[in-house]
Symmetry: C2
Subunit: 149 residues, 2 copies
């Protein structure tokens, strides 16, 4: 893992220590982290603050041209919502820690010209496997997956 | 406008009175409003709390099966991010006040089976036309549109 994915991983672990879902993200502009965040479903009762959204939120209001020079790092493949945020702000590059435990809207991102780098880091895969085994209901809630539907 | 779009309009106007972007939304479940919100870019310095996101956030954590019975009302056609949130949670129906001043990811939503009802209400169109004329830079920032790119 490079320093940015390492920072996203640390965010994920911080979220886990808080009793939350271990997914982390950082937004990088011109070689510097300008926003970092982790999933806040448990901590804030939030359905919208996935890790990527939290990183974007914590970066604050940016000019449209700044997003176009940014890269977003996330420990897990971005869901429909987070991918939509990436498309809204036209972030051109996404580095994904792993897409083995969950595959988000990668095809949509690629079809819109976003560059994806998928690491499939074994440590990140194991982190999510362990979490999903530990708290499956929380995980399914986070991705809108209805077991009984 | 029915009572739910009226409530979304009132949210939009509240946002405008706060100095913000006049877009409002309500989430309706089983005939009742369970979340309401408006764009908070100015008020909270938030790039992620578009009106629909704010309504989802204010509804709090719901069970996956609840979203699947819900309808979201929004005064303006939902952007890529808000459409992504609708897809994540599999909200089956979206009532859109207007799509004349901004056309969001309606084709994507339709391709994924979401039912769209577009009202194109003249009052809502005029509200956004007036706002865009008044504060074009703020509007372009909100939709990630780069004038100089």
């Amino acid at each position: 893992m490079d320093e940015f994915m390492q920072a996203a991983y640390e965010e994920a672990m911080q979220g886990y220590r808080e009793g939350g879902i271990p997914i982390g993200s950082v937004l990088v502009l011109d070689g510097k982290i300008i926003g970092r965040g982790h999933n806040r479903r448990v901590q804030r009762g939030s359905p919208v603050l996935h890790a990527e959204m939290d990183a974007l939120e914590n970066a604050g209001r940016l000019a449209p041209e700044e997003y176009r020079r940014a890269t977003i790092y996330t420990t897990l493949s971005p869901c429909d919502m987070c991918s939509g945020a990436i498309l809204l702000y036209k972030i051109p590059r996404v580095v994904i820690g792993e897409n083995q435990t969950f595959l988000g809207a990668e095809e949509l991102l690629k079809s819109r010209g976003v560059e994806l780098v998928v690491l499939n880091d074994p440590q990140l895969i194991q982190m999510m496997k362990d979490f999903i085994a530990e708290k499956p209901d929380l995980w399914y809630e986070d991705i809108g997956h209805c077991i009984e539907c």
